[in-house]
Symmetry: C2
Subunit: 321 residues, 2 copies
């Protein structure tokens, strides 16, 4: 690292801290592309973070999640809070849907410097995307955003990883999709801090809420919190204030927790192990031909031509070389 | 490795393949204690495995899981199949409940060489226990057991990891515990291949089954399989034949799958990455003072005194030293 480059990163950090949109934007691109400069940047930014409150918002496609996120962002803007939005789409190719989504969604906020909206798409593993999203949130945090809304499509394990990064997780549902509650996948029950029934003017909303309440009544409390249900019609801006209220209530609940500091340390203990695992796995699997090598080894193990310990040793050795 | 030791392991392997109880028992102890010989043994045994069908059985304490496992083992013995039982208890200390459980449960089968019953308890991480259970199943497989029943207590993430190793996952529930369906934790919905309602002579069994069916009706099919519900009264040996039938049906369904080979390779791809991660993490965190070091670093990161990348680098460096 030359002195010039070091100065450059320091200046970049300063620009981000002043909330300069281009510097923030460039940081998110560097994170998305996995540029080495991104890790250096995060390292320098990190001590200036920890002030934002992040809200993960997830749900199946078609539930009106994006509209809800837009309205929530507008609500916070109305209260003079700076807002960052990260829309994560694990299913779209890098140059496809996500960027198009950016353009469409920028329309309502683009004149407002207090809202920063950015899409992140998958490049390789979901684990990498979770890391990238986490880093992007740190950049927005350092840039002075008070609320960071992280929106993800889908309800798979990877998406769960992503929303788990947030301080608060909102699961968006809607009545009348297929078998009514079919989107209520089991995993969502465990991560939701708040449930939203969007498009609640649709037929079957009452029955849907009843079913949801029945399911929630059998779930156990987590840390003394029972997930509330908020009914919204995002397109009409209905229920958005109530949602923001529920988020604040959770935040107060979390702030009042006696073990808050220990919980934060525990969160980072978990993250550090994940980062460590990912670091090593990407060193081995992420190299050129690494994934093919792993798949070939897995095939040999499945056919009992090789034992799994030997396969792991081989991968470790190849890395050292 | 001296030639004498190599011969020794080869002889051990031969004894296990002949199904000698003492050799099998010694192997499981070596696995449980994490002895280096265990890894060597698994390596040599591995090519002789892949013939057993493993059934993971999980559910909350008090659901009668152990009795059900005993009856199912007896059913297979009646059909002249060799059976191995691994009872995993993540909550009990190493020398406590699990071993006591062994003694009590050996009573009904101890005169029968066709059934091998063994408890495994936690020594350190659940990840380690999942690995140990997987290895123990390989030993029983090599020893010629046709069915391996893996019983776990509890319904946490760790237990899910353990039952996920099995070819078939049975979730045991019962009517009338607290709020009726309170044990039906969300995570279980996603892993169950078969649901058992045990103690189904209890009050509320019909309502319980109805609620369960309602929940299942909104879940989506996995690989063309819809989890059936089997009602049992394990203490009276009722429904055990039906449970065995449901297991066979799933097995046939799996055998008929066109992508079976690809699925096995995919399973091992996933396992190899896990083993790789675990190997590296245990090299770092599993060393003397490693966990304390990790916690201290996590605390510093939580307080923004250190950035997470620097913390990960520190851990990696300390390992190289």
């Amino acid at each position: 690292m030359t002195r010039a480059q070091t100065l450059h990163v320091d200046e970049w950090v300063a620009q981000i801290q002043r909330g300069e949109v281009r510097a923030v934007s460039r940081a998110l691109t560097a994170i998305e592309n996995g540029e080495p400069a991104a890790a250096e940047l995060i390292q320098k930014l990190f001590t200036h973070t920890g002030n934002a409150y992040s809200v993960g918002i997830t749900g199946a496609p078609g539930t009106g999640k994006s509209t809800l996120v837009d309205k929530l962002a507008a609500h916070y803007r109305g209260a003079k809070a700076a807002v960052g939005v990260i829309a994560v789409d694990p299913s779209s190719p890098f140059t496809g849907g996500a960027i198009l989504g950016d353009r469409i969604r920028m329309q309502s906020h683009h004149a407002d410097a207090g809202v920063f909206i950015r899409s992140m798409a998958t490049r390789g593993s979901l684990g990498g995307l979770a890391q990238a999203t986490s880093d992007a949130a740190l950049v927005l945090d350092a840039a002075g955003k008070q609320y960071i809304l992280i929106e993800t499509v889908g309800v798979g394990q990877g998406e769960v990883e992503i929303v788990r990064l947030a301080d608060c997780t909102v699961v968006v549902l809607m009545p009348g999709m297929g078998d009514d509650v079919q989107n209520l996948k089991a995993g969502l029950m465990e991560i939701a801090d708040i449930f939203v029934i969007n498009k609640c003017d649709r037929e079957g909303a009452d029955r849907f809420e009843e079913q949801l309440r029945a399911m929630l009544s059998i779930a156990s409390e987590r840390d003394g919190w029972r997930p509330p249900i908020v009914r919204t019609i995002a397109t009409d801006n209905k229920g958005v204030v109530e949602l923001a209220g529920a988020i604040e209530k959770l935040r107060e609940h979390q702030n009042a927790a006696v073990n808050r500091r220990a919980k934060k340390a525990e969160y980072w203990r978990h993250r550090l192990v994940e980062m460590l695992e990912q670091r090593v796995v990407s060193q081995i699997v992420g190299t050129r031909g690494g994934e093919e090598r792993l798949k070939a080894l897995a095939g040999e193990v499945a056919e009992r031509k090789k034992d799994p310990y030997a396969a792991v040793e081989e991968m470790l050795k190849e890395r050292v070389r």
